[in-house]
């Protein structure tokens, strides 16, 4: 298992988990439309979600548009 902080909460994801897995684990809709992800404060473009594996202790933020402004 790999331990990450996902949207502020400690989570265990399977070894080899990618940003795409983290996006799903965060509860975003399956196609990920309208969603963006950052790892340790760096944006990971959608095209790299599948390839970008997570290492331990990384902070993953999965964001979407909400009412505001």
């Amino acid at each position: 298992m790999v331990s990450v902080t996902l949207n502020g909460e400690a989570r265990e994801l399977p070894d080899g988990a990618t940003v795409a897995d983290a996006v799903r684990a965060a509860g975003a809709r399956e196609d990920g439309r309208g969603v963006a992800a950052a790892v340790d404060g760096e944006v990971v473009p959608r095209g790299r979600w599948q390839a970008r594996e997570l290492a331990g202790d990384e902070r993953v933020e999965v964001l979407q548009a909400v009412q505001g402004g």
Binding site: N7, R46, A65, G69
Partner: protein, 256 residues
């Protein structure tokens, strides 16, 4: 009313609505429709698995261009990252840049704001900065390549209207990009005053979303913006210290 042109986009409405503060998505939809707005702001927050309905799809449905903001950011670094995340999520390089310097007044942090604007412009963004009503800062933002400047009337959500109309006029007089009055609007007359002062558009949220009847207030704001724009272009009479008769002074009957 001529269209509002910002960068390469043209909008038929000069009222831009923020989507924060509505009791429900249904209330928001009714207000957005009544406002006639063609652009609406959204914020970026952590995914909430329990949330129902997509605000982006709803705004698409209303024919609104979705403008992401960087609300909640206190540093240039966070604002730039948030803008890049918004670009990923919403596939737009437009951003309402907001960098707050004080969490009580929600006034912008001028240094961080300018630094973020410069980075985002260099990164290819179309930047619409929420700024204070300081004419010098507005000019610096324009010089940095911002597509518009968005001075506040008074603090976000305060409903105090235009606290410094003199500064606002100075910004309008020298700006070469659209000036959008952003924040502080409380009621329709505030929006009309902003347009009469020469602003190109008005951005408001709380005044509508927290009104007792948001859709009715949205309709009022729409009329106020249109009336203010029309009055500005109609050319108002000068203010005088004394009265000037509107009926002829010749030919008055002698009756006593």
């Amino acid at each position: 009313m001529s269209p509002l042109v910002i960068a390469d986009r043209s909008f038929g409405s000069r009222l831009i609505v923020g989507t924060g503060g509505f009791a429900s998505l249904d209330a928001m939809r009714a207000a957005v429709e009544a406002s006639g707005a063609e652009m609406a702001t959204v914020a970026l927050r952590r995914v909430d698995p329990a949330a129902r309905g997509s605000i982006v799809e709803l705004l698409d449905d209303c024919g609104c261009f979705v403008l992401p903001n960087t609300a909640g950011c206190f540093t240039a670094r966070d604002a730039v990252t948030t803008a890049r995340l918004a670009r990923e999520a919403l596939e737009t390089d437009w951003v309402k840049l907001e960098v707050i310097g004080d969490d009580k007044t929600l006034l912008p942090d001028p240094g961080e704001l300018l630094a973020a604007a410069e980075q985002l412009v260099a990164d290819g963004f179309t930047v619409l900065p929420y700024t204070s009503d300081d004419p010098v800062l507005a000019r610096r933002l324009e010089d940095a390549g911002c597509a518009a400047v968005m001075p506040l009337g008074s603090p976000i959500g305060s409903g105090m209207g235009i606290a410094n109309p003199y500064n606002l006029r100075l910004i309008v007089e020298s700006a070469r990009v659209p000036v959008i009055l952003d924040a502080g609007i409380g009621t329709a007359s505030d929006a009309a005053l902003a347009m009469e002062a020469g602003c190109d558009a008005v951005l408001l949220a709380s005044a509508v979303s927290r009104a007792k009847d948001p859709a009715a207030m949205a309709a009022a704001m729409r009329k106020a913006v249109e009336a203010g724009y029309a009055a500005r272009h109609a050319g108002r009479i000068p203010r005088r210290r004394y009265g000037q008769p509107s009926s002829p002074t010749e030919g008055v009957a002698e009756l006593t």
